[in-house]
Symmetry: D2
């Protein structure tokens, strides 16, 4: 933050030098509002970059309460102009043509969109606007006006962060430390403790990391994926993260494993890059290592334990049958140390893990929710929704795959592989998009309980 | 073009490899339209980048007639959706709130905007869309539907080419040849004949060139300005372009002269960068060469001769008085070799040039036209409108300043200096924007004929 | 090492592909020797790069004993050719001219110099030769032949690492992690614990780090210096390294403090860059921050405690007088916890530290040793020799300046400032070089005991 | 030159600022000599970089006569030190060991070598020393002392420009204009007229250019080679340089043709890179385009016409038989327009060209000269010596291959292909190096007249 603040300050000072303004207190909500009005008016256009920088610097330096008041002012005072809309509707209805429709489109645009575009002109403006939206996000549920403002941010960012403007960069141990520092900070799946820990994921020749960047945010990754090159589909995350493992020469690998995907910018909520990232990385890898035969993930199942506990509470046992109840009892009914329990070996433990696999497969392919306009059911699990929506296939379900506290608590140690098979991605995507069909291997099909045996597992969301 | 075509081809091939499609004839207007519909639909999303690349490659390879038919199809079939608009109007009128206003805004957006955003996802997409708009421009006068399409392009480009996304680069003799080649091609004010000629404007330490670039168009400048460092305000372009002149050490200069500004991309018509470019270059120069005291242009007066000839044809001589008529007669009434005539020296020639200066000053500060919504008069001369609109001041009017064929024909050898004085830019801009006041030096004020002595020189445009 | 080994391997494989050779066991001392002979002969010239790479890869993979035997072979079998020398002497004596002198010069060059030049042709050759010399260094005392070999290495490296080939790079928090990793590893004065610790020395705007690099060793710094920008001459290292201190804006600093200088490459022993580095950094800083008024070091005094203890053991107390003996007794005579003792405050402690300052000043300016050909005395302290030899002046002596274990043990907490005053550097250097005069401030002059009061402090070394 | 001069000036000024010196007249031979002595002495070491820069700047600005006098002074006054040599001889003879041999080696080194190393420390020093040697070259024949100086330059440059320090760069149309400008200037085989002409050799995807650079001369290529990708071995240069030819997709090529190799730096005379360059380019091409099957040159035969005319003058016709004499008469005996004659078609012309091919093959494989220490014969033709010495094989001889004025005058239109066959390079090189054997195809073997039919064609050179 300090770097940004300093740069903003510098810009503001230069801007002021340009227009001969003096440095005042520009941090109150009222001052920010006046600056916004000046920036939108014809006045001050000659120094609009400096004024935009002033406003953003003022905002960055303001107190939380002032920042939030300013956001409310954006939401309300810079919202749609009713008189203008009414006139445009009248004109359109009098003569409903493309041109009057477009005039109506323009008239209904909230003026703050233009304000945000002008703010973006300032050096560092794009990052400042991302940070501004981070302030909006926690408020949008409670305040509908801020939800509208948030929608404007999302619309603008979706246009600016168009995939055509993003660049894919490989991040490795020769990358700048301040970028690596952000990888450590943003990793959301398998925590990175330190630079030394990060080095294990970057420096070996069988470990790769790719990120999307936007040219206006040179040092801020937007999303990144970590890849392991292996000679088999991995069944647990420990094998991937093991610092003692023998390095594999890339040309001897036949499988690329996407074992961690992390979004970096909260301010880009709703603007999705993961689909593009995975596919471009697949293309890069195929070009550089033509012998690769398989592209799979090793993915968490974030909602499994919660779902399982809810099923456990249900009385009639529509999902969990009597034998399974018995097997699961130590895990779910008793105040057990789950990690210890799941860590056991032996025939009894094997039964438990088999049961978890079966129920997890059932959860992933049967537990659905209706979303979107067209009433098509989608999996409850968000990671499943992401990969299946991309056209991947649910390939394997592994128990005893993740013994980290998070892995135990969210999925009772289960992880899964989604397979990106280039020949069927398009077909799977369409079946999923049009009819909600989940692509799965015969293994998963066997594991998951048949639909007809279950009560309706769809949940409203 | 060949590089772009090749890259597109490569991308398309890779895209096809991804989705297993085969290469067909995708160049008819009908085929392009179908591809556009598929791209906009939910279908094919998994390979949307490849499909966007396909469509753009097909378009680039199509014949002119097919391309134009496809543009008409974009204009008509992908225009606003009336039923959706009517429903949104009804909803808004039933409950006129910010949220329904925004829904109306969205409903009135022509679907082709979304199509253009999806096309932009393809590698090279931004450049391809610029080239597509170049095809639209010549048609927009005759076909109103294409004028609407053009407006969508302009709106989208204004957002994507936001000044915050542009980078300023100094271009010099160590710049890549393929970029320099484009500078030669795009120079619009003082023609550059060859690389050797270009070198004279780049390599000497008292000659600089700055350009704006967009990150998605790495090798294509958007606009550039050529700067000469001098120790006096220059009175003619020959002195600037003289290859024999003695180089000035930058630290001995006190004046920076902007002697040529060229827009490079026709496809960006209506999206203006000149104002930002000049101001950022001023800031760069002030930082690097703090001893600089003056920032001026040496600018052409493109409309002067035409205007003068029109006044000459008028009978009552509201502008040109009797003495001046006599002096100008050889130039305007006779089929003279104007270059030879203007090239003479002696007292008579001096009189002619003084008269031209006086009338040119009058032209620049009195000949106005009413533009825009608010009915404020603006100078007829486009270069004057640009610099005065930026807040510059008309400082000097020089006769015998440009003996190139273009200089003789468009301005009878006259050039002018606009002064960028940082202390008064904002004030001048406001007076100009709000009241149409033209900022001028006392010299120009003396030269220009008083308003009251003239008939109204405003022209409708 | 793994990266280097891999690169070597790759090169060797490519080299072999070129010459159609097969991969054999090239790691015995005998095999290495044969490869060296082939490389020096006319044979194999067509693939000399591949052969050089082979030899270096074989050497890197060989066992320690084989490596050392190969070095002995270089020292003996590739040493000067007596017959050739005798003939050249005869020719020279018959006709002593420049040409015969040069022929003699060439004849007396050991053939291994040419071998080393040929080895350097391999990719990564320079680094491999540096590492080879690291193997020579520990053997050169015991084996005179290896001392000769070592002298050849030093001579060659002095020519290759000519200051004209070095580039100065600023290292900061945006530098590649694998370079920063080496800074952590090579820091020799004030230990860096981790990347987080390093960040404190790189990221704040008042902390800078500069290093010399050689183009053939892109990722390996040769020497680096750490700089703090301050508004006063610092009296202790804690203030410099304090992570809680308030950052100073660079434009508000008037002093640049060189607080750590580390050589990185053992293989470059005897090839000195420090003098050039400090001076070029001074120039860089003066250009970027023209308001800086002082350039000083904050330097350790590595030999002070050892010297002091030796003086303490002496009977007649030529240096330490009776009062001082009493004050120092707790520190030197008793098995005290020195850190605790030196950490005390109060009048008694003040007396102790004053005594240490006085004796340290005496040590630095009076304890000398005769080195080099001309019999001029030089300070015993190596850090003092370095800075005084560069033309710096001993400016201040601070007690309580370094409470790190190393600071306590080697200098009883004392540190000193050497001042680089550009106006007198040349003069001081000459007085020092020609006559052994030590440049010192009046403060140090007062502190140090007068020469005449002391027995001769010169030591033979 | 102006850039260099300016940089030198700047450096010198900074150097002087460092030592407080004033700017005087440093351009006389005497002044330069004094500066050289000061630089070599212990005095002034603290500012040795600045002093080196001073001397080089003074030299660059001096008049030709002063520069030459200074070079003579280097040759004489900074030559070997006889007294020191005599002492070292005595010491060696008293105790002839490795250590005394090395002391002798050092003693016999002319002090100017150390001076040159010190001069190299100045920024731009390496380039300045190359330019200095360019001044030595024309004088070395007439003045033996300067030949000694020249040998020192060559020895030093051979060490500094070790192949391990060179980097291979591909030059293309995106390369900096100031580097391309030098390619135009340095092209020595097939003249390049302009940037547009150069573009034809760089921009098409079947034309490549590679150059070696040294890190201390970032913008100065050392040597470069132009490559055409083709689908057959070319028989004439016109086909290669034809601007109308159809571009070949690189992946469809099976042959890489080296059609022009130019050394760039006269100052590096005697330091050879061509062998390394060709081999590394072969490796690059094989890696990037694995389908390439042949690597050949299309080479001039610079000495053919001269040799042929000499044979023509000989009476007994040892080489040219009676039939051939008749066929050649129009070309050699008459004052014909050779270009017109060689341009004819028809049976008679075919006979002429066949005769030229036969005699050119004979010239290349039979006309030899004894060079070097070991008395092994080498071809008279310098291009043949270069490629055969690299291990290439003489593959084809083409008449009607080069109709440029140079091609007509030096080789009567004949060009040849040398084949770089990786499997036999090493064998050919050895046979050539050890026994002077010329590797040739069966075609060339048939063309060339048998040795026994000829008088001895060896010439002394």
């Amino acid at each position: 933050m300090s770097y940004f603040t300093e740069m903003m300050q510098q810009i503001t000072d230069r801007g002021r030098a340009l227009v001969g303004a003096r440095r005042g207190d520009a941090r109150s909500a009222k001052a920010l509002q006046e600056m916004a009005q000046a920036l939108l008016s014809n006045r001050g256009e000659a120094s609009s970059v400096a004024r935009a920088a002033d406003l953003l610097a003022g905002y960055a330096a303001a107190k939380k309460a002032d920042r939030e008041d300013f956001l409310r002012c954006l939401a309300v005072d810079f919202g749609p102009d009713q008189a203008r809309i009414d006139a445009a509707i009248a004109a359109y209805q009098a003569d409903p043509r493309a041109t009057t429709a477009m005039a109506l489109h323009r008239a209904a645009e909230p003026p703050r969109q233009d304000l945000l575009r002008r703010l973006n002109r300032a050096p560092g403006g794009t990052l400042a606007l991302l940070r501004m939206r981070e302030d909006v996000l926690p408020l949008r549920r409670a305040e509908p006006a801020l939800a509208d403002l948030d929608a404007d941010f999302e619309h603008l960012f979706a246009s600016w962060f168009n995939r055509g403007f993003l660049t894919l960069r490989r991040i490795d141990w020769a990358s700048p430390a301040h970028v690596l520092e952000k990888i450590i900070q943003y990793e959301a799946v398998h925590r990175i403790e330190s630079f030394e820990d990060l080095k294990l994921r970057l420096a070996p020749s069988d470990r790769l990391l790719y990120a999307f960047f936007h040219p206006a945010l040179t040092d801020e990754p937007l999303i990144f994926v970590e890849v392991a090159l292996t000679d088999a589909i991995p069944q647990s995350i420990d094998r991937i993260l093991d610092s003692k493992r023998k390095e594999l020469a890339p040309r001897d690998a036949d499988t690329a494993v996407f074992y961690s995907i992390s979004n970096c910018q909260k301010g880009l909520a709703g603007v999705s890059f993961g689909n593009f990232l995975i596919k471009q990385v697949v293309e890069e890898l195929r070009r550089d290592l033509p012998q690769l035969r398989r592209f799979v993930t090793l993915s968490p199942v974030p909602g499994f334990t919660t779902w399982l506990e809810a099923r456990w509470q249900e009385e009639d046992g529509g999902v969990i049958d009597a034998t399974e109840r018995e097997i699961l009892a130590p895990l779910l009914a008793e105040a057990a140390d789950r990690a210890a329990l799941l860590g056991r070996s032996g025939a009894e433990a094997d039964k438990l893990h088999e049961t978890l696999r079966r129920l997890c497969a059932t959860y992933l392919v049967r537990a659905s929710t209706v979303r979107g306009e067209r009433g098509i059911p989608r999996p409850v699990d968000p990671v499943a929704r992401f990969h299946l929506g991309n056209g991947a296939r649910l390939e394997h379900v592994h128990a005893r795959a993740d013994y980290s506290p998070k892995g135990i608590s969210q999925a009772s140690g289960v992880m899964v592989n989604y397979l990106y098979d280039l020949d069927s991605i398009e077909r799977h995507h369409e079946a999923y998009a049009e009819r909600g069909e989940v692509a799965m291997s015969s293994e998963v099909r066997r594991l998951a309980k048949p639909q007809k045996a279950l009560r309706d597992l769809a949940v409203s969301n």
